[in-house]
């Protein structure tokens, strides 16, 4: 199974979610500025890389975890993934979609935009404090994603929509 964390640039909120998911960060406390910028792949993407999945690792259930940049168009991206699964007859339980775009608030969205324009220093300045501010929401998203992955170990037919609808109702900051 594949887990996708959607975020504006793919290398800010998505990499934090990946680190939480894979055990590189703890949900119990907000990481320091230094811990955030030292994360693998954090803020590394070039503008031309946005949209390409970033492989973050394999979780305890054997799922591949990716972050993917979708700018502000999380709805468009989710519908397209849904339809790719449909038209290529791929079972939807092969994928978990976790939408981190609504978790970040306007600062992180703006950071994603700056990143997309190649303005990395501005993106960094906005992204790190924004991530610290929205860390509880990102932790909540990851906790739900991991719970969904765990549930699918036992119920592989669980529908993917459950995850991101639940997450998006509760994750606004």
């Amino acid at each position: 199974m594949i887990v996708f964390y959607l975020c504006p640039s793919g290398d800010f909120a998505g990499t934090i979610c990946g680190a939480l998911h894979l055990g590189g960060l703890s949900a119990a406390r907000v990481p320091s500025h230094r811990e955030i910028i030292q994360l693998r792949r954090f803020g590394e993407s070039k503008p031309e890389d946005i949209g390409r999945p970033l492989f973050l690792g394999v979780d305890q259930f054997g799922n591949q975890v990716y972050s993917i940049g979708v700018l502000q168009e999380n709805d468009v991206a989710l519908r397209t993934i849904d339809d790719l699964l449909r038209i290529f007859h791929i079972p939807p339980h092969e994928v978990i979609l976790a939408d981190a775009v609504p978790c970040g608030g306007w600062r992180l969205k703006l950071a994603g935009l700056f990143s997309g324009w190649g303005m990395h220093s501005w993106a960094y300045r906005l992204a790190v404090p924004s991530i610290r501010r929205c860390y509880p929401a990102l932790s909540d998203l990851v906790a739900r994603t991991v719970a969904s992955a765990r549930q699918r170990e036992h119920e592989p037919e669980a529908r993917k929509e459950v995850l991101y609808r639940k997450v998006r109702k509760t994750s606004g900051v």
Partner: protein
């Protein structure tokens, strides 16, 4: 194989190109406003449709032809679709993505925005129809290029 024409709203340039590709309108004659309006999805898509892959038909090679609105994703969209498709095990040769945005003129932008976003169809639709007719042979040329490449595969 699936061929996906993509533009901002999935309502004008991509729909027109896909209609030419599937033979719903002639590639060599400028269509009338009525002919354009009879094309499925032309000036019809709403915000909630963006990102949905809409089947326009099947071409003479047996390929399914889709249209999609990618909104502000721009060039990111192709990275996104190719990246996700690759991870889902979809062979690269099974997916052809065609960006029709370079062929969109200002009348299509203004008319499309007025008709679809502002919902002022009576004002926007004549402008976008005029723009589509203005871009028609460029879109037809694009389709011709796509088909030439497909026939060489």
């Amino acid at each position: 194989m699936k061929i996906i024409y993509h533009c901002y709203g999935g309502a004008h340039s991509s729909v027109t190109a896909a209609a030419i590709h599937t033979g719903k309108i002639s590639h060599s004659h400028l269509p009338t406003d009525q002919e354009l309006m009879s094309v499925p999805y032309f000036d019809q898509q709403e915000k909630g449709d963006h990102g949905r892959l809409k089947l326009m038909g099947v071409d003479e090679f047996g390929n399914e032809v889709y249209v999609v609105g990618k909104r502000h994703m721009g060039r990111v969209y192709e990275n996104f679709v190719r990246g996700v498709a690759g991870l889902l095990g979809i062979p690269e040769a099974e997916l052809v993505l065609v960006d029709t945005m370079p062929y969109v003129n200002w009348r299509m932008m203004v008319g499309g925005y007025t008709s679809r976003r502002l919902r002022l169809t009576a004002i926007g639709r004549p402008i976008v129809l005029s723009g589509t007719r203005g871009a028609y042979f460029k879109l037809s040329g694009l389709v011709n290029t796509v088909k030439t490449k497909l026939s060489g595969r």
